[in-house]
């Protein structure tokens, strides 16, 4: 005979188990796939499908992937980056938009890079959090994300203009070195020409600086820039690549017009090409097409400056400075230089997706290589499995039939916990596995508290049914206290903790709440059914 409330309890339990199994079905399906097929599902991007059939298949795969419990970067390998957008040089209104804009641009770049399931979120005022799961080229990903990609076209100054600037710069430093007094003309070169004496003799608009002198010269250029009394319509800029001069490395220094003639925002599309430089066949470069407005502007610029050099400047460094042979009417151009193929590919992507509104810095990076991730998940799962098996064994040996009840409750607890994680699209991390292990500990404690109470009541010569009733009732208060205190501390961890601490706290909290249902509610139901039905006079506990 079952009472009405017993029937309800049984119904709810069955519903709980069914709902859990259903929610976990996709997870089970996903992780029982063959490794190759699983990779396929992980990489499925319906937006990249070429045929209708492929799209349908990929959508199905993507849905399966979404419903399965995701593994954290620490378990499957991947990269976690926290970027800070440096808005210090922007006005307050610009700064506000800059972070969102940067996020969109980075999202665009990563999308073209082809990572399945990236996470890109704005965090706080001026930070962007990026998670890239799976195998990837770390260096390439970092340079792709971190590059500002500000493309500018600037005119290289003429010989005379450059000479005039050099003379002024030399005088400036010569005076500065001697406390404002100009040196007399018999002084050695390094005092008369503090700046140009560091340059190797070369044509003036493009001077070579030995690599060991680059930091000194760069320091001087920064000093000039910082001094507002030194006004000029020209600026210095370094070549992006080093060159070799009679066995030593050097870097070219250019004198450019201060204002860019055109910016990269006028680039409509860009591709990596291998056939751009006729003198070096097979050398990677990037060809770009300008917007119609940009094309018209480019035609005007090139038309007005035939015979002069146009520098293509990326993030302040000169990629190349070709001579303008003739007016370029159709808005097409190319960037060549000493690129590796990957660098050229990156450059094409960043030019297509546009420049970041402000520079970004990587302020936190966590990378787990895929082999370590694989290692961690195997070890983590094995540890959790062995731990659970030991506990189960102990419970059954010590409490026998009642121990079995506890084990059933424990199993349902883990089932419910995993189902919740799948349902909330939570991610399973290594600290999360630790949280599950501690949930097991707490769940066992709950049952131990109850069983020890029941044993005490039995020793006090109560009947089985009465002992179960009082045992549960008395243990209940302690259990609630224990759960509330642990839950309170894990809530604090969830609110104020970051990353790994949160993952731990979330699994522990879900596990504890479910434990109140399974270890108290469901196990009591089993006990009731067992003892009342059989009218037991003794109990295996």
């Amino acid at each position: 005979m079952m009472t009405r409330s017993d029937q309800w309890k049984l119904l709810l339990t069955v519903a709980f188990v069914l709902a859990s199994v259903l929610t976990l079905w996709s997870t089970f399906e996903f992780y029982s796939l063959s490794p190759q097929r699983r990779q396929e599902v992980l990489q499925a991007r319906p937006s990249a499908a070429t045929t209708e059939a492929e799209r349908i298949r990929m959508e199905k795969d993507a849905k399966l992937r979404e419903r399965a419990i995701k593994l954290g970067l620490d378990l499957q390998g991947g990269m976690y980056l926290l970027l800070e957008v440096d808005t210090s040089k922007l006005g307050p209104a610009e700064a506000k938009n800059a972070v969102d804009q940067a996020r969109r641009i980075i999202e665009n770049r990563i999308d073209q890079f082809g990572v399945a399931e990236p996470t890109i979120q704005k965090q706080g005022e001026n930070r962007i959090l990026i998670q890239l799961p799976g195998l990837l080229d770390q260096d390439r990903a970092k340079s792709l994300i971190g590059q500002t990609a500000l493309l500018e076209f600037k005119l290289v100054k003429t010989e005379e203009e450059s000479k005039a600037l050099y003379d002024r710069v030399d005088q400036y430093f010569a005076r500065k070195l001697r406390g404002g007094i100009p040196p007399d003309s018999t002084a050695p070169d390094s005092i008369l020409h503090p700046f140009t004496s560091k340059l190797l003799a070369s044509s003036h608009a493009e001077a070579l600086v030995l690599s060991e002198n680059v930091p000194i010269v760069d320091q001087m250029i920064l000093q000039l820039k910082a001094d507002s009394t030194f006004v000029s319509d020209a600026v210095f800029a370094w070549d992006a690549h080093e060159t070799e001069v009679s066995g030593r490395t050097a870097r070219a220094l250019y004198v450019l017009g201060k204002e860019p003639l055109m910016k990269g925002s006028e680039v409509a599309s860009a591709q990596m090409r291998l056939d751009l430089d006729p003198t070096r066949p097979g050398a990677p470069g990037v060809s770009f097409t300008l917007t119609s407005r940009g094309g018209a502007l480019f035609a005007d610029i090139t038309g007005a400056n035939v015979g002069r050099r146009l520098a293509i400047v990326l993030d302040g460094r000169i990629q190349s400075a070709p001579n303008i042979q003739e007016k370029i009417p159709r808005g097409q151009g190319s960037i060549t230089g000493n690129f590796k193929e990957e660098e050229a590919q990156n450059l094409a992507i960043v030019l297509r997706s546009g420049a970041l509104p402000a520079p970004v810095n990587i302020v936190e990076e966590r990378t787990v290589g895929p082999s370590l991730g694989q290692d961690s998940i195997e070890k983590g799962l094995r540890a959790a499995g062995v731990g659970a098996a030991l506990v189960v064994l102990f419970m059954i040996v010590y409490y026998r039939m009642s121990g079995m009840v506890a084990v059933v409750a424990l199993f349902l607890n883990i089932l419910g916990l995993l189902a919740c994680m799948a349902g909330f699209h939570a991610t399973l991390t290594l600290p999360g596995i630790a949280g599950i292990v501690l949930t097991i500990g707490m769940a066992v404690d709950t049952n131990v508290l109850i069983f020890e109470r029941i044993r005490e009541e039995l020793r006090n010569k109560r009947t089985v049914i009465a002992a179960i009733e009082t045992g549960y009732a008395r243990a209940y208060r302690t259990i609630i206290d224990a759960h509330v205190t642990t839950l309170l501390s894990s809530f604090a961890l969830m609110w104020f903790g970051t990353g790994p601490i949160r993952g731990f706290a979330i699994t522990l909290s879900i596990g504890l709440i479910i434990n109140l249902i399974t270890a108290v509610g469901i196990s009591k139901m089993i006990f009731d059914a067992w003892s009342v039905r059989r009218k037991l006079s003794s109990i295996s506990i």
Binding site: V363, E365, K379, A434, D445, R474, D481, T486, G497, F504
Partner: protein, 305 residues
């Protein structure tokens, strides 16, 4: 019925002073170790800096890695050869502006020999400002977690118990910190999570004992508090030991089989569980008893006047 520790009748409280001495010595050792090491050893999560683990195939000598790291402009980094040949752990200081030197290091090691394969297994790189923020967040989390627990215990139980509970809590966390310091392990975000879990367990254990003391002080009203506590501890002893044993089983398996990433976490848990079990029996109840006796003496003194 398989039973351990049933019907024990130990006069725990009579020996509480020995326990105070043992606890005192343990705490002193912890303090001494912390002083000798100049405070807890914070990991890159809190100090900022980089932790890079690489695998070089075929394996090379640690000096080779050191000179490569020097070439990468990171002289002064700490380099440690790991158990597996060719695996190295490199700890570099935080440099403002440059967050992650992982590429520089792997490129420099690679450059030593073109036939060499360098795999970056793990990078944890935290900028100095983020490190400060993480430390702030961790301190806040600890503060609030402990605060919540204390308020709850204060509401549910007498404040006399609160004192014992708090003392037991600090005792456990402190000794765990000391054990981490003695073994020269780092305090990372995950270790902080372990410390807080220890705090949670410690409170949990303490509450189970206190609950029984409260229950028994009603039924054994005429008995002296010392006796009540002994009865309560003896009655809950089997539960305390069984629970701790099962938790211990799970934590030991995490410690032995869980792999290096979770190693420090489980080590801290292991120490915490052992001392937590002991402290819930002795430190918490013992101190609660001392407070009660002190109150009675003070009360008695007034009554005599």
């Amino acid at each position: 019925m398989l039973q351990i520790l049933h019907g024990v009748n130990v006069n725990w409280m009579a020996r509480r002073h020995i326990a105070f001495l043992v606890s005192g010595v343990c705490v002193l050792i912890s303090i001494a170790s912390l002083i000798m090491h100049g405070g807890p050893r914070y990991g890159v999560d809190f100090t900022g800096g980089s932790l890079i683990e690489i695998q070089v195939t075929p394996p090379v000598h640690v000096d080779e890695v050191r000179s490569a790291v020097d070439r990468a402009g990171l002289a002064g980094s700490e380099i440690q050869g790991l158990a597996r040949p060719g695996q190295f752990l490199i700890r570099a200081e935080a440099k403002p502006g440059k967050a992650s030197p992982s590429s520089a290091i792997s490129n420099a090691v690679q450059a030593g020999d073109p036939g060499r394969k360098v795999e970056v297994l793990r990078v944890e790189s935290v900028g100095p400002r983020v490190g400060n923020e993480l430390r702030g967040a961790a301190i806040k989390a600890i503060f609030f977690a402990l605060g919540f627990i204390l308020i709850y215990v204060g509401i549910r139980y007498d404040w006399r118990y609160s004192v014992g509970a708090v003392a037991a809590l600090f005792h456990d966390v402190f000794i765990t910190l000391g054990a981490l310091s003695i073994t020269n392990k780092e305090i990372t975000l995950t270790v902080v999570a372990a410390l807080l879990t220890i705090a949670g367990y410690s409170i949990n254990d303490t509450i189970v004992v206190f609950d029984r003391i409260r229950e028994r002080s009603k039924t054994l009203r005429r008995e002296p508090p010392e006796k009540v506590m002994n009865v309560a501890i003896n009655e809950t002893l089997s539960r305390t030991v069984i629970t701790s044993f099962t938790v211990f089983l799970s934590v030991v398996s995490l410690f032995a089989l869980g792999g290096e990433v979770i190693h420090d976490f489980s080590f801290a848990m292991l120490v915490g569980v052992v001392f937590g079990t002991y402290s819930s029996v002795y430190v918490a109840s013992g101190l609660a008893l001392e407070v009660q006796l002190w109150l009675e003496r003070a009360g008695g003194g007034r009554a005599k006047k």
